[in-house]
Symmetry: C2
Subunit: 318 residues, 2 copies
């Protein structure tokens, strides 16, 4: 994951500049190259720099379209045809630098403009996308996985509303993608075939007592659990607490799939146990690009794969 | 959804017949044309017909490959490039008739053989796929959505094991797809952007007390809830019970997205409320192809979209 892009402070909301190939950022916080696992959540004090400015009144043009596109795991092969078409049709593509870098050349070359910012700029980046659409451009805002999974589909609608706009005004559309839980599950076999819950350990937007309560409630109920954002240097306590809670409800030898950077060059896959998991927190395997897949009481490891039985064995003779 | 295909009883495990274009079924239960929403879960007595027979010892050939491919929502545009490549590379494609019919012609025409059965044949269909791979063919077993979401990835591994085979022997691989929860969420905006749980109301493989307990636990904890398999004529009580439980924990006016047959010709989308949901159970909108997206206490409807705030509004000024 690269967060070492040089960022440029600029006031331009870019609604007007549609023809030049610029990569600009109005992200107040500079990314520190030695901490690729940090995000804005870890540095609350810089959040205040992100403030939504212009409203629909500031734009004279007929609005263009705004589409939120999920890229899936990252590699171009993991994108749907619909996502590729949406990006090919977009005049402007807006996204987090890492995701923009994952796009195939034919897509980035066909766009009139690409606007990317480092990780910390969710709100300003989303506002930029909206402003560009309100200024008359057809805009795609991109993210890995699916726009509905810890992603920007909702933020886009919230900001549109705050600007006095409507979703219909920009023909707002969501193009779904393969979420990380499923991309990562595929790497380790069949860990998630029954009722499953996804929980993020990031306490940036959800407080830790809520996260803990959700972990307790679902670990008790036999869900398989996909854990997003398991670890950052500033949030290691959440990971440790999570392991502790899961171990209260499940055995030490419960299988856990650990998938780092699914679909990217630095992909790493390991199947471990809940008992071993806390120690892995100290390794490079677990960072903000890692997804954990926690088995239930019936999950087992066979021939290097995690298998959560669906229950067919109680119904059929095999 | 079509389940009116004429089925043919046959003993052939098809490992040997790789060049003819046959569509055969060894599904013991006949599909009743007037009940397209039934599945084997509803008719437990026919389950016994599905029994796994041959073992690895019965095959002399070097095994081929077995890949479980998720098609996503159904329309070809919703498939990933990787899924298309996997299907193009497969010599045999095995799947539920409805999904086979959704495949683009170029894929079905390039396969040496297609084997499809109606809904009730999960086990025999999966075994057929495995037998064909063990007999030396490269086989893709397909399903809508993702192979890890209430699907056959796990069953394939379980049956392989029961036959004395291994996953490595057939280079078993899972190609993920966009799950129904995300395909459907995209249709209604941004209902699922926070911690989310998926629960199936089918009590074929999970008993109803477990399902009820999971609904209680997660409705209490503020998860958004994606409900699969909400309704069949033989399982209406589960739907009614589910509505009752959700209404114990959430307000009558909680938004619920109802998406029927996402990505197919008969797609229908409606945003309703938890209070109105029970009555919709009596309409064609809710059947086994419908996914329900239940908002949490903060979810609201704006400009025809469901929006579940991520919590940015507590951190940013917009």
């Amino acid at each position: 994951m690269s967060t070492d892009e040089t960022t440029t402070e600029t006031e331009s909301k870019c609604g007007a500049s549609s023809s030049t190939e610029t990569t600009e950022s109005k992200c107040g916080a500079s990314s520190s190259a030695d901490d690729s696992t940090s995000n804005c959540g870890a540095s609350g004090s810089s959040d205040g720099d992100e403030e939504v400015g212009s409203t629909v009144e500031d734009f004279d043009a007929d609005p263009g379209r705004l589409v939120a596109v999920g890229l899936g795991p990252g590699e171009p092969e993991g994108m749907t045809s619909r996502a590729k078409t949406a990006l090919a049709d977009a005049e402007h593509i807006v996204g987090y630098t890492t995701y923009v870098e994952l796009l195939p050349d034919e897509i980035t070359e066909s766009a009139d403009d690409i606007y990317s910012t480092p990780m910390c700029g969710e709100v300003s980046r989303t506002e930029e996308a909206i402003d560009r659409a309100l200024a008359g451009n057809d805009v795609a805002i991109i993210g890995s996985g699916d726009p509905n999974v810890y992603a920007l589909a909702g933020l886009a609608l919230e900001i549109l509303e705050s600007k006095g706009g409507t979703a219909s005004m920009v023909d707002f559309e969501v193009v779904p993608g393969v979420p990380a839980a499923q991309s990562c599950a595929a790497r380790v076999g069949a860990p998630l075939v029954n009722d499953t819950v996804t929980i993020s350990l990031s306490d940036h937007l959800t407080d830790m007592p809520t996260i803990e309560s959700r972990l307790h409630a679902t670990a008790k109920e036999g869900f398989t659990i996909a854990i997003y954002n398991p670890w950052s240097r500033k949030r290691r306590a959440n990971f440790e607490k999570c392991c502790e809670i899961l171990l209260e409800h499940r055995d030490d030898d419960t299988p856990v799939g650990v998938v780092h950077a699914a679909g990217r060059d630095d992909e790493e896959v390991e199947i471990t146990t809940l008992g071993e998991l806390p120690d892995l927190g100290e390794t490079d395997l677990i960072d903000m690009t890692t997804t954990l897949l926690v088995g239930n009481d019936e999950t087992y490891v066979w021939d290097g794969r995690m298998v959560t039985p669906r229950g067919y064995e109680t119904k059929y003779d095999y």
